[in-house]
Amino acid sequence: MEPLLRLSLRQLASRSRLLLILLLAALPVALTALISNVEGKFSNSEFINHILDGLLIAGILPIVTMVLATSAFGNEMEDRTLSYLVLKPVRRWLIVLPKLLASIIVGGLVLIASGVIATRLGASSIVGATVLVLDGSLQAALAVGVALFAGVVTYTAIFTWAGLVSTRAIAFALIYVFLWEGLISTFFGGVRYLSVRGYTLAILHGMDDETFAPLKDRVIEFPAALVGAAVITTVFFWLTVRHLRRMDVP
């Protein structure tokens, strides 16, 4: 398991891909720093709507996890090296797990760092109804970290499966994220129960409903989000293992 994890990490960390991911992750921090320094003020809802939800959770989070997770198996298929892995006398779930972990480690580290730093920066300049002192911002930062972690794990489970079953995984992932979670969920609220973005926002709100009060009207219940994220992750993990067990390895 450990050598597989190390191998998977090395495969993911190609220089151009890392650079692009770091660039994306730097955006929320840079924008928050710019606005809070130049304007001197950043309202709570503005920060949450634009930076946290719009930029990070609805945009950068799915794109980064998509690029990482679909290539976990996708590149093995394209390079026809999957058979080397599958021929090892290792249980199939022990092949899937390190692949997942590698994407979660790379994606999670970068995204959580981005979210937490942006939140600390944003919180220090937030004015308005909910003025945050340092304590509050720590709690908010923790909420952001946990919510992003849940988001990364759930997306990774889905996209790793997609990368294994389809050569066009990113296309379908893009459609799921930006059509289903982005567009359709604005018309049909129920979609949030089947949307990783919905879970992420709900966990954010559930962990600190004071700071993230502006999200109140568009989040599902906290427990539902936790259960939803856990169920989706488990189901897709199982689907990936099952597919790996049944497929004809090229």
Binding site: I35, K41, E46, H50, G54, G59, I63, V67, L174
Partner: protein, 314 residues
Amino acid sequence: MIEAQGEVFDLGYKHYDGPREGRMRARKAIWINGVRTALGIGRGWGSKVLPGLLFVAVMLPALVISLVASQVGLLAQGLPGHAGYYQMVSTLLIIFSAIIAPELLCPDRRDGVISLYLVRPLTTTDYLVGRWSAFLSVTLALVYLGQTVLFIGFVLAADEPGNYILDNWLNVPRFLLAGLVVAIFTTTIPLAVSSFTNRRAYAAAFVIGLFIISVPITGVLTICENSHGTQQGGLGSESGQCKPLTGKAAKWFALLNVGGVPIHVNDMIFPEENTSEFANLVDELPDVVPVAWYLLLTAGPGFVLWWRYRRIRI
């Protein structure tokens, strides 16, 4: 002649003495092949699912609006018409272009077919123009179909169809022109991005990322003005006052929203007021600015595409 084992009788080689139409035929072939590739014609079912799905998704709003119009009447408040149609389907159109356009360029380079093209009576420019116009045609067909459905829907929903046509026929040339503006934009950028990677998926992710991420970035940089108007999903704003950066420069920052660039030109073509995000900000700028910005964002990627293929190593 008796063949012991029933061999296939060889007819012998025959030289071709039919017509040869040279470069013109080659250009047409590249165009037709581009259209077929975009729509997945002549390929397996897997290649038809995506364009089919996206085609339906882009058509759906036109059908829904037509149906609603026939029920509640044409003058219902807030019912989008020809002017708002492109804005409404712009996200879908971006997803469609980002995913399908790379099909026309990336596999040719990845599989090496491009070197077979360029030894035939065809130049790099012929090839690029063929591919570009093929995807433009597909996109145009898509958006015009939607607008046509909408127009027919409105005519049928009108109390006096004849009068409706007489009063509103100008919408047809308007949507034809605006459709061209939108389609050129959503064709050129994804194709330019496709010239940088052999992997279709990365091109698609990059294009969608560019369009999607530019929305909240523009949102942040234009906070002040937007807080009065249509802040997305917000509960209203706690800060009503303008700020040093986003106050004065907001109208310029509004141009950063890539997806909105052709929509601003669309808004100039139609007389209706556009109340969508950032449109109110761009309205403060002289008309020539958004038009120039649009031209820059189509000619620029167009040049990049051509330049990338000039230096292609086969």
